[in-house]
């Protein structure tokens, strides 16, 4: 970088960031299978440098894990790889091919939100909600390891999840609420294991069967049907169960699997 205090110096930079470009053709590719939420998901001909976060979101249609920093600092991309809470943005997806990956979509059992997710929603931990999937994973992970965390232990466990919209009070309250609720259930059934939807067999999440506690209707009112051709939103429920979310039609290539249609078609032609 030229010393720009020498104001009459003229410099030619090859790039804006000092990196040489190279053609996408020559980039090394891989085909592998990821086991996500108990389901084998094939990934074909993907550049090997893609992060697990990118593959989950853009190739597998599981947009629950969010990207906030691409550096592993914000915790919005938290997933569990072989039971270990991990920043998916830092994991090369191809290297996760032999691991059990669990995402926030896998926390729900049979399409119903887990107790942690319900507690987060009820205790005011959700404002804009962007950090909440990562928080849900972190809270699940904490409660799997520690059934009665103290306030300090909860704070330490959640300090890897950044939230700009709250003061973490809702999340900490949710941790305590779930810990208490699970302890009560464990007392009622001492023979059985402490019930945890986290350990129930997980399936690919099907949005159509999700329930919300306060829903009265399942249909979008007719006078708000949309008007023009809309892009396919692959990540959205179609039942109208979430009135605050855009109502778009989702066409699953295969029910129960989130294979994006564009994976089946050849890549768009490149040209100037």
């Amino acid at each position: 970088m030229t010393d720009f205090l020498a104001s009459s110096a003229i410099t030619t930079t090859t790039t804006a960031h000092g990196l040489p470009g190279f053609g996408a053709d020559e980039s090394p590719r891989a085909t592998y299978t990821l086991r996500v939420n108990g389901v084998d998901r094939p990934v074909t001909d993907a550049w090997i440098g893609e992060s697990l976060l990118y593959v989950l979101r853009e190739r597998l249609g599981l947009a629950g894990a969010k990207g906030g920093c691409d550096q592993g600092e914000c915790g919005a991309c938290s997933v569990q790889v072989d039971g270990q809470l991990t920043a998916a943005c830092l994991v090369p997806a191809a290297l996760a091919a032999d691991s059990e990956i669990r995402t926030v979509e896998g926390l729900a059992a049979d399409g119903t939100a887990s107790d942690v997710q319900r507690a987060l929603a009820e205790h005011g931990a959700v404002q804009c909600g962007y950090c909440v999937p990562g928080l849900a994973m972190a809270v699940h992970d904490l409660l799997e390891r520690n059934h009665q965390p103290t306030d300090l232990e909860s704070r330490e466990a959640l300090c890897g999840n950044l939230c700009r919209c709250t003061g973490y009070r809702g999340a900490l309250a949710a941790v305590q609420a779930v810990a208490e609720a699970r302890a009560e259930e464990a007392e009622e059934e001492p023979a059985a294991e402490a019930p945890a939807p986290a350990q129930a067999p997980v399936q690919a999440h099907a949005p159509a069967s999700v329930e919300l506690p306060q829903q009265q209707h399942a249909q979008q009112p007719q006078h708000t049907q949309q008007r023009q051709a809309q892009p396919q939103y692959a990540y959205q429920s179609t039942t109208g169960a979430y009135p605050d979310a855009p109502q778009q039609d989702y066409q699953a290539a295969d029910p129960g699997l989130y294979v994006l249609p564009h994976q089946q078609t050849p890549a768009p032609e490149a040209g100037a």
């Binding site: 190279f22 729900a108 997710q117 909600g129 330490e156 700009r164």
Partner: protein, 825 residues
């Protein structure tokens, strides 16, 4: 907090010389041993806390009664769980970055690495040569300038000076120069890096004080605005004079979801932008202007907003995205990296504030003189509004008979500054509250007492000559926070539960920790100032048993959708309320900023709902043989005034399709006079008082905020849980600015554009936030009497934390964020 000096070996266990630890009359002393901190002067009744129990903390354990979820309900005054909370917790709520379309391409922006440089040439050939690249656009692809030469299509909310792409001059680090669309995001980024741009670096203007004399870095000059305030007699001098120079650093809004969007080209040559905009109609109009299209050919659909404490999505992102979609004919998706997000979105104005407070020997303020300098960054954005707020509120919520202010907002080659919750008010709050602490020390007065003596009240005058007609319960707010019991010292807690300053497992020695208590009170304005037309439009429709609300007020997570639902539930008695998604096909509700949406959009929803209610009740009234005003709706039933006749609401709504549209706007305001700063510029004011309790490790200079007690006047608590959530958000953001957040630039280049070195408060940093009172003195001009709640806590919290650190260390705290070297003793 000090551990008992068991063996008496460490001199650090005792109070350090010169540090007013527990001295009689000091705030610390009062808290630690003396009379209860709640010894108020009995000024006025303080209503009790209004929140349901779970939002309050029990004093003895310091932990909330967290087991019970908040009281649900419907209608205003209750705290229903937001409808999208579960979808967000399950990860299926779509934000802009989650969208996808068939044939999607990815966009990336090429940015300038210099803070100030001339662009000599741009060669996009090497980028186009990369396989997979579909299009590269520069300023030449935007609408041409007035002389037919590409000028980058400058636009802006107030002044049209910010180009989409830099054409001949780069004015801040990271300014967009070109954009690329390719079939893979990494290909797009590599192509953006491959564009050959020839720069001639120029000397960057980074010191705002030098901006006055420096050569202009923009044809419009380096001074955005100068706003003087002349109130009273300039010759007056007080018996006691206190001076200070204060500095506020550059805070980034840092939403966890960075800018992202999807643009889909329309068959008519326009484009549909799916972005998380907070001002959809404004952004749509600016995009239309930059692209040279008619506004109705651009449709902006607001997707889920991943957090907004400031204006989101600078024009360089949205317009570039739309342009790529139009050029390629494909949907184009772009997600900014965190580094890009740090560089280009609006930041808080860094500020230099020089103050002189004059008071009589009893501590009553006589005169306030101030010089305020806001660093507006490279482009005008909303610096002029921030400056007006800063100048008008430079003296704070106090009755001061003589106020003389000169405030400037200047242009530099630093990253652009713009609207961020509490703009202008936060910087002055830190300064005037620090001044009051200094004045209290000079007069040997209790900091709380000096604030009480000078507190503004309803009917007082702002230094701009405006009468404060809204409720201004400043003294009551101070009394409310002072009345709350202090958190216990952790001496009874087990050692491994101590959360020391600097974090658990750090190098902190408990014996070096001192606890300090500080107070601050501040004010913000609500809605647009100085003549802005703050109108919002909403429609309410009821078909059968369901109501729908169409209002383009963007819910950024702050809960407008929930509020709209509560309003309709209250007015119409219908519990099933659908809030339509926001897009620019509907009439404008204005930006989600300045605390507007509660006021004007909530007001518009209420008005429309009342019109529908009248349509509903009118035939019933005829049937009952009475006037519609004599019917009430409650608990899902319509009843006559005497309770004799009634009908369930749902039955009355059978086969009905009722619909109404209404607008709401506040009373008009006028600009501040450019020479005297006088004028009725503000629609309303909101006040907030805080007490901060901090632990400071005086050896290391680390700080932990233990507890922050807040009292705020909210007019009316429409959704108590949500108010608590907004207060927490503002407090946390304020704690961040006070202790850890600063975007550092060297020679105009940002050196810490990442979360590794721009530190946001984590769960270990946040204090216990206790809400002492939400004073509900209704603002009669506001719909529902409610004031907006989001901005005031954000503006006041840094001053409260600084005051507490001052009390703990005895050091002057003149700079935010507080650096360890400033306070280590």
């Amino acid at each position: 907090m000090t551990t008992p000096a068991a063996e008496g070996e460490s001199s650090l266990a005792g109070p350090l010389p010169g540090v007013p630890q527990g001295a009689p009359g000091s705030a610390t002393g009062t808290a630690l041993g003396g009379t209860a901190a709640g010894a108020t002067s009995g000024a006025g009744a303080v209503p009790g806390p209004r929140l349901p129990a779970p939002a309050q903390r029990t004093a003895d354990t310091g932990q909330g009664s967290a087991s019970r979820p908040p009281v649900a309900g419907s209608g205003l005054g209750s705290s229903p769980v937001r409808a999208d909370a579960l979808a967000k917790a399950m990860g299926i709520f779509p934000y802009a970055a989650d969208l996808w379309a068939e044939g999607l391409l990815w966009g990336a922006i090429a940015r300038a690495p210099y803070a100030h440089a001339r662009i000599l040439s741009v060669d996009i050939g090497p980028a186009l040569a990369i396989p997979g690249v579909h299009a590269v656009v520069t300023a030449a692809d935007l609408r041409p300038g007035p002389a037919g030469v590409p000028d980058g299509a400058p636009s802006g909310p107030i002044v049209q000076d910010r180009p989409v792409f830099a054409t001949d001059v780069v004015r801040h680090h990271g300014e967009p120069v070109a954009a690329v669309a390719a079939d893979h995001p990494d290909t797009a980024r590599l192509a953006a890096a491959a564009i050959v741009v020839t720069y001639e670096p120029l000397e960057p203007l980074t010191d705002p004080e030098a901006a006055f004399a420096a050569p202009p870095i923009h044809p419009d000059g380096n001074l955005f605005r100068h706003q003087p305030v002349r109130f009273g007699d300039p010759e007056v001098v007080g018996a006691v004079v206190v001076e200070g120079l204060y500095q506020v650093g550059r805070q980034d809004p840092a939403p966890i979801g960075a800018e992202a969007g999807l643009a889909v080209p329309r068959p008519d040559g326009g484009v549909e932008l799916h972005v998380a905009s907070t001002d959809p109609h404004g952004d749509r109009d600016r995009a239309a202007q930059c692209l040279g299209l008619e506004p109705d050919r651009i449709r902006l659909v607001v997707s889920g907003v991943p957090g907004a404490t400031s204006d989101r999505e600078d024009v360089g992102f949205q317009v570039a995205l739309g342009l790529l979609a139009i050029r390629t004919g494909h949907p184009v998706k772009m997600a900014l990296t965190r580094e890009e997000s740090f560089l280009t979105h609006a930041h808080r104005h860094p500020a230099l504030l020089r103050y002189r407070h004059h008071a009589d020997i009893e501590g009553r303020l006589v005169k306030v003189e101030a010089q305020l300098l806001l660093d507006g960054g490279a482009y005008a954005e909303v610096s002029s509004e921030a400056l007006a707020a800063a100048a008008a509120m430079a003296a704070g919520p106090y009755a001061v008979p003589h106020v003389f202010v000169d405030a400037w907002a200047v242009r530099t080659n630093n990253p652009p500054a713009g609207r961020m919750r509490g703009e202008g008010s936060l910087q002055t709050c830190f300064a005037y509250e620090s001044q009051l602490d200094q004045l209290a020390a000079a007069l040997d007065l209790d900091p709380l007492e000096i604030r009480r003596r000078n507190a503004m009240s309803t009917g007082g005058l702002l230094p701009t000559g405006q009468a404060v007609t809204c409720p201004a319960p400043v003294r009551e707010l101070l009394d409310a926070v002072a009345a709350e019991p202090l958190p216990p010292l952790p001496v009874d807690q087990p050692d491994d539960e101590w959360l020391l300053p600097g974090g658990p497992g750090g190098a902190g020695d408990p014996a070096a920790v001192r606890r300090g208590i500080g107070y601050a009170v501040g004010m913000v304005h609500m809605l647009g100032a100085e003549g802005t037309d703050e109108v919002s439009t909403a429609s309410v429709r009821v078909t059968g048993s369901q109501a729908s609300v169409m209002c383009t007020a963007v819910d950024t997570g702050t809960g407008f959708a929930t509020l709209a639902r509560q309003i309709v539930q209250d007015v119409l008695g219908v519990s099933d309320v659908y809030i339509a998604p926001v897009d620019t096909d509907q009439p404008s509700a204005g930006p989600s900023a300045r605390g507007r949406q509660t006021w004007v959009s909530g007001g518009a929803v209420e008005r429309a709902a009342l019109m529908v209610r009248h349509q509903l009740l009118q035939p019933l009234a005829v049937q009952f043989g009475m006037s519609p005003e004599l019917l009430t709706i409650s608990d899902g039933k319509i009843t006559s005034y005497d309770g004799v006749l009634g009908m369930p609401v749902l039955q009355a709504l059978e086969d009905k399709d009722l619909w109404a549209t209404a607008q709401c706007r506040p009373h008009p305001t006028e600009p501040l006079n450019p020479e005297t700063g006088q004028g009725d510029a503000f629609v309303g004011l909101a006040f907030c008082a805080m007490r901060a309790v901090v632990d400071v490790d005086v050896e290391l200079g680390t700080v932990r905020v233990v507890e922050l007690t807040v009292a705020q006047d909210v007019g009316r608590a429409l959704n108590p849980e949500q108010i608590a959530a907004r207060i927490e958000a503002g407090v946390t953001q304020g704690v961040g600015l006070a202790l850890m957040e600063e975007l550092v630039s060297e020679g105009g280049r940002i050196v810490n554009p990442s979360f590794t070195r721009y530190r946001l408060p984590t769960s270990l940093d946040v204090p216990d936030i206790r809400i002492a009172a939400l004073l509900e003195e209704r603002d009669v001009v506001a719909p529902f009497g409610a004031k907006a709640v989001g901005a005031a806590p954000a503006a006041v919290a840094p001053a409260a934390v600084a005051a507490a650190v001052r009390a703990a260390t005895g050091r002057p705290v003149n700079r935010l964020p507080i650096q360890p070297e400033d306070i280590a003793v």
